[in-house]
């Protein structure tokens, strides 16, 4: 069955902050409801903790810079790996992720290598 990565884009929140407990509970509800199709996932710390790595050509100098590659209002805050029959099913599940109404969810088909 095809797999899809559902990337959550929301305000750049610190999910570890106790103030976010109510929202985290909503995500827990989604995880319970979608348990049969979720193959993985993670919540990310805010973009303030990010480091962007660039290398000046293969084997070249490594340049680490603070922060995400691009500053946007909505940041990548987490993801789920879903296994669904087709895109329609994946989109139906994505619509139930709380990020879909607090921000947006990008659904990307996962390429199968070497199958």
């Amino acid at each position: 069955m095809p797999q899809y990565l559902a990337l959550t884009y929301t305000a750049d929140l610190d999910w570890s902050d106790p103030d976010q407990a109510a929202q985290m509970a909503e995500y827990a509800d989604f995880r319970a409801a979608a348990a049969a199709v979720i193959r993985g996932g993670a919540v990310l710390y805010p973009t303030a903790t990010a480091t962007t790595v660039r290398v000046g050509g293969k084997g070249g100098d490594v340049v680490n810079t603070d922060g995400p590659y691009a500053e946007t209002k909505e940041a990548l805050t987490g993801f789920y790996l879903l296994e669904c029959a087709d895109l329609d099913e994946a989109l139906a599940w994505a619509a139930q992720i709380p990020a879909a109404w607090g921000g947006a969810v990008e659904v990307r088909p996962v390429m199968r290598l070497g199958s």
């Binding site: 095809p2 029959a85 087709d86 895109l87 329609d88 989109l91 088909p109 390429m111």
Partner: protein, 333 residues
């Protein structure tokens, strides 16, 4: 090639190739492969029919030949086992598929080409190609896009359908309200591109207008109980009934008030008005925006002159339109 063969093949291409293609896509699970196989079969028909005569059942001949061509192509390209499996499915189904299956195949094709996860531009291009049966250069020409750009757009669209696994299936009744607007908007945009030509030298591009009406008719055949589908066809017919009177001798647009109403197409008006009635009957409480716009167009179409138009009826329809336009009516960009 004899003239007769060419004419017959031409008619077959227009009327039947969409149906054959829809079935081939289901059997092969691959739009490009199905298109190529159908193309192969048409080429074979040209040479075979010319030397051996036209078969008793040209359509069945093309279907069987296209399937063989698809199998040939799969074998030639067979690298993956799932492709071998689809070749077997093609062999299993030797009979001409029954009408109900062809109907469902066409619906599958409609809803796949007009899937909401595809951009409107992509939907328009793919619908003209697969449902309309136009070649890539024809689609490019109709939409005034360079051929290379159009070829790329079509390839990317088909890639997304394959890679994201957009399903080839008829939506359940409960899903229809969510899925139908994307289909109707696609056809309406094709019509508007022709009717209010945004590019090119002509005020009206008849090829696109005709194509949109053909697609709207196909939708009516496939979904005769959907009020919005009837409303869309009614709207297109009523607007198009003014085609001849809408453009002046110098190619300029003539306003409604100044049009010679004897130049309006009475047949289209009759059909359009009948369809508005049917659509309103099916959605008395909350007509969709296409049906309401068609009702407004019908008021104009039935008026003997501009001054004798039932303006109060039109005004009330506009009030209704305001209440139902939460479904976006797509305007050409």
């Amino acid at each position: 090639m004899s003239r007769f063969t060419a004419d017959l093949l031409g008619a077959l291409t227009r009327d039947e190739s969409t149906r054959i293609l829809a079935t081939l896509i289901r059997l092969t699970g691959d739009i490009t492969l199905a298109e190529d196989a159908l193309q192969d079969a048409m080429v074979k028909a040209l040479t075979t029919w010319d030397s051996r005569g036209i078969p008793d059942h040209p359509r069945a001949w093309v279907i069987v030949t296209a399937r063989r061509c698809a199998v040939d192509r799969i074998r030639r390209e067979a690298r993956r086992t799932d492709k071998e499996a689809s070749a077997m499915a093609l062999f299993d189904e030797r009979e001409d598929p029954p009408e109900s299956v062809v109907r469902d195949d066409l619906l599958r094709l409609v809803f796949t080409c007009c899937h909401p996860s595809l951009s409107l531009d992509a939907r328009v291009a793919l619908s003209l190609k697969t449902l309309g049966g136009l070649s890539t250069p024809e689609v490019a020409g109709a939409l005034l896009v360079p051929e290379a750009t159009m070829a790329k757009r079509l390839t990317r669209t088909k890639q997304k359908i394959a890679q994201a696994h957009i399903p080839y299936r008829v939506p359940a009744d409960a899903e229809l309200p969510g899925r139908l607007p994307a289909v109707l908007a696609t056809v309406y945009l094709i019509f508007n591109e022709g009717y209010a030509a945004s590019g090119g030298d002509l005020a009206v591009r008849s090829d696109l207008v005709d194509e949109a009406i053909r697609l709207a008719r196909l939708l009516c055949e496939l979904m005769p109980d959907e009020a919005s589908v009837l409303g869309l066809l009614a709207l297109l017919l009523l607007q198009d009934s003014r085609r001849a009177a809408r453009v002046g001798q110098a190619g300029e647009l003539v306003l409604l008030a100044d049009q010679d109403r004897s130049g309006w197409d009475g047949e289209k008006i009759v059909e359009g008005v009948r369809l508005v009635g049917k659509a309103l009957q099916r959605s008395p409480d909350r007509p969709d925006s296409y049906t309401v716009q068609a009702a407004i167009a019908a008021c104009h179409a039935l008026a003997p002159s501009y001054v004798d138009t039932d303006w109060s009826a039109i005004a009330s329809w506009y009030d209704v339109l305001l209440t139902v336009t939460d479904t976006p009516v797509v305007r050409p960009g």
